[in-house]
């Protein structure tokens, strides 16, 4: 309910203090209250002003896009290239104004948040959820360097991320005139596919071509362009002033490398002779949109499929040939086909045995044979190779092998059930097995269709449990947050990107518009990007964020005997992240008992669905759950499959 506005400044300040006091210490629930324009919220029993979304948001949404044509600025020329190349979203913070505003003016959905790093993570997650190029932007100097961790994470995840940043002017280079002077390109060396400081205004379109050639071919990785003022603010009266101002069909091709027929024949021969073949489907299958071809090959030759990578669901987990939840069967595989496995494990990191033979399909010949010795390499677009292999393979039946995989799945599920039963035995706090199992029940065995909800799988210790229970029934239904780079903290940033992907129905998220996403994180992770709950709230991106709150970093268990330094690994106990979320316009739930978890999750989901607000479910656990004597303790993992996140 909307409260009467107080006119006195001192009263207003006092009210804020009272509100914060209630928010942090009080046990009373807050409730949504409509503010001006029907979009505001306030804490009940306080006289605080309601949290409102400014009317400019609606005005922006309703505005007609400007018709931009020559004369154009350099920023506008670049923005046109982004639009024509199909960039699907921009995530940024203020800064790099000319470029950001020009991109927004093309109609590319543009989101602004609290921290460049978090928004860069959002763009990365958007790529992982959609397979499309997303852009991110920050201002020169600090804004750009805030993005470094996120660029590195996107690089490790092989995301087609377009990193844009303003960077002073060419004229003032090296002078330290003003503030925020820094060389950007050396900073992203080693964490990008291509980078360039643009210095010649008339080549801005040409360098957009350089960027998109890299983003749209081969193995995707970030591309970083920095824009001095001379580029962004250059003025072009007509196209003749621009170099290589061609349609994209003239500066790059969508053609993909196809496999050598001899290599396909050799692969088919190996697979026909194999008793227990398996396919590992990873990023490349997703980015080549190869999931239909994957399924056709698997079904024709009856080859089980297990997934790895930065997103999951290219092969439905409920298919009889899915080995995603059959870790016990992996070591039985005699021939393994690694498809689009860009991030290669070393020996022993995947659970296949010492006698396993490997076929690797990858668009990049330079990478084939790295880390894991191969028996056969196939240089090809993944989808093209899968189609060729399907054509080359006869129909085969491998009933004993399929039965072995099914038995391994049953063993795994029985083990999960055992963990859940053990978790229910703890009633002084909520055990991670309870969270994981009951979340899975809610998503896949209740009123919701099992393929509906996209999940951002984040967190550290909690993820050791939730990964075991979460399932993907369609492409990119799970976005694998910590994949390879292992950053702790991007999760709420990732949630923005995933929620935006679903909200806009981009790529394989089409058809799921309007449905809340689920994001899982820990209390350590929430500390990094929790402020972005405000970003989710102001854009009305429905996300339910589950915070596993065990009062400690995940590192605590390994350091607990180090008495002097132990506080490094600890937080204050029983922190109220739910109240923090409420103060940022979200719905909050605080759960301290296992029996209360599912009802709280349901309430949070309903708020997200019906009010299009984010909700934070703060689940109180305790750090001792990671100890071996408190069974099941901290869980290990087997890769590939549902538990994988290293590769």
């Amino acid at each position: 309910m909307r409260k009467t506005k107080k006119s006195s400044r001192s009263t207003s300040a006092e009210s804020r203090r009272a509100f914060m006091k209630n928010a942090v210490l009080g046990a009373g629930a807050t409730a949504a209250a409509l503010g001006t324009g029907g979009v505001g919220f306030a804490a009940e029993e306080t006289d605080a002003k309601p949290i409102t979304i400014p009317p400019e948001f609606k005005a922006s949404k309703d505005a007609t896009l400007p018709a931009v044509d020559f004369p154009m600025s350099g920023a506008q020329v670049f923005a046109r290239a982004c639009k024509e190349e199909g960039v699907k979203a921009l995530f940024c913070c203020p800064g790099n104004y000319d470029v950001v505003h020009a991109i927004a003016d093309t109609g590319i959905p543009t989101y602004g948040g609290r921290h460049e790093g978090a928004l860069c993570h959002a763009a990365d997650a958007f790529c992982r959820a959609t397979g499309e190029v997303a852009a991110t932007s920050g201002t020169e100097g600090p804004g750009f360097t805030n993005m470094i961790c996120a660029i590195a994470a996107a690089n490790s995840a092989r995301s087609p991320l377009l990193v844009l940043a303003s960077n002073k002017s060419v004229f003032s280079e090296d002078t330290e005139q003003g503030i925020q002077d820094a060389y950007q390109q050396p900073t992203t060396e080693g964490i990008r596919k291509y980078g360039k400081r643009l210095i010649t205004p008339e080549r801005v379109w040409e360098y957009a071509g350089y960027a998109f050639r890299q983003l749209k071919s081969g193995v995707p990785k970030p591309v970083h362009l920095d824009f001095p003022a001379e580029i962004a603010r250059a003025r072009f009266d007509d196209p003749s002033e621009l170099e290589y101002f061609f349609d994209k069909t003239k500066y790059r091709t969508d053609a993909k490398p196809h496999p050598d027929p001899a290599a396909i024949d050799a692969a088919a021969e190996m697979l026909q002779a194999a008793a227990r073949p398996m396919i590992v489907s990873s990023n490349g299958v997703f980015y080549s949109r190869g999931w239909k071809a994957l399924r056709e090959l698997a079904e024709k030759a009856q080859i089980p499929v297990v997934e790895s990578g930065a997103m999951k669901g290219q092969f439905p987990v409920d298919h009889e040939l899915s080995a995603d939840t059959a870790p016990g069967a992996l070591m039985s595989a005699d021939v393994v086909v690694l498809v689009g496995q860009y991030c290669m494990p070393t020996l022993g990191e995947f659970a296949f045995g010492p006698d396993t033979r490997y076929i690797r399909i990858d668009p990049s010949a330079e990478d084939i044979g790295r880390n894991l010795p191969i028996d056969l390499g196939i240089v090809s677009d993944e989808s093209a190779a899968l189609k060729a292999l399907t054509a080359a393979m006869p129909h085969q039946r491998r009933e004993a092998w399929v039965a072995e995989v099914a038995a391994a799945r049953e063993t795994f599920e029985a083990e999960n059930e055992e963990y859940y039963r053990a978790g229910l035995g703890y009633t002084d706090a909520v055990h991670p097995a309870v969270i994981a199992k009951e979340l899975a029940d809610f998503l896949y065995r209740g009123a919701l269709p099992s393929d509906r909800t996209t999940v951002l799988q984040g967190g550290y210790g909690i993820a050791r449990y939730t990964r075991r229970y979460l399932r993907a029934f369609r492409p990119a239904q799970i976005v694998n947050g910590a994949y390879q780079y292992g950053a702790i903290g991007p999760d709420v940033g990732y949630a923005i990107g995933v929620a935006a992907a679903v909200h806009n129905g981009v790529g394989p998220q089409a058809g799921y518009e309007g449905h809340p996403i689920i994001a899982i994180t820990g209390d350590a992770g929430f500390g990094y990007t929790g402020m972005e709950v405000e970003t989710l709230s102001k854009y009305r991106l429905p996300a339910v964020i589950i915070v596993y709150n065990n009062n400690a970093w995940g590192t605590w268990s390994g350091q607990r005997n180090n008495q002097i330094a132990l506080p490094v690994h600890l937080f204050q106990e029983n922190l109220r992240y739910d109240k923090m979320a409420e103060a940022l316009g979200a719905h909050g739930e605080y759960v301290t008992n296992p029996k209360d978890f599912t009802p709280a999750l349901r309430r949070a989901y309903e708020v997200a669905r019906d009010e299009r607000r984010p909700a934070v479910v703060n689940v109180q656990a305790r750090k001792e759950f990671w100890l071996r004597d408190q069974a099941p303790g901290f869980l290990g993992k087997i890769e590939p499959g549902v538990m994988s996140y290293y590769h």
């Binding site: 020996l347 022993g348 659970a351 045995g353 010795p373 292992g486 390994g558 071996r628 290990g636 087997i638």
Partner: protein, 169 residues
């Protein structure tokens, strides 16, 4: 003549066994599974194979041709005899001969026996090949070590953090 003939039979069997074991282990090295693969003779007819393998650790596998015994010497340090870990690993290793396992995962008791025991603070894995099944024994002991490593990954990750340098993350 006859005496010489009788004496040469076991020696020939030993040589055949060693050749089969060498061929098996060399094939892992040739395929890149092992790195830095070397062989050295010890006293009493023992041969020790050393190679870098899982987690890039050095592995010492001792082979006794006469008895067909394979034993990993240095792979599971810091295991107390009556610890939960020791009990779990012993049970896991013994279960490798269970008829409930698929044939390609089982250690066939007709061709080899398997055991795990703690000696001087370390757990040792032993496979004894029967009736000349030495190549089989070599293959099974390598697969056994791999299965144990996976088992530790899944159920005792902290052991690998502490003893194998596997990252806690």
């Amino acid at each position: 003549m006859g005496g010489r003939h009788l004496a040469s039979k076991p020696r020939a069997a030993h040589e055949n066994g060693l050749a089969a074991v060498r061929q098996c282990l060399q094939s892992y090295a040739d395929r890149g599974v092992f790195r830095g693969y070397t062989e050295c003779s010890e006293r009493l007819g023992r041969v020790r194979f050393r190679f870098s393998w899982l987690a890039r650790n050095p592995y010492d596998l001792r082979y006794e041709a006469e008895s067909g015994t394979f034993m990993f010497l240095n792979v599971l340090p810091n295991v107390a005899g009556h610890s939960r870990l020791a009990r779990a690993l012993r049970a896991f290793v013994e279960a490798r001969s269970s008829s409930t396992l698929p044939p390609h995962r089982r250690i066939d008791p007709n061709r080899a026996t398997v055991s795990a025991f703690v000696q001087r603070g370390a757990m040792r894995l032993r496979v004894v090949a029967k009736r000349g099944h030495h190549a089989y024994g070599a293959n099974r002991v390598i697969n056994l070590m791999h299965e144990v490593y996976l088992h530790l990954h899944c159920y005792f990750p902290e052991y690998l953090w502490e003893n194998y340098g596997v990252p806690q993350d």
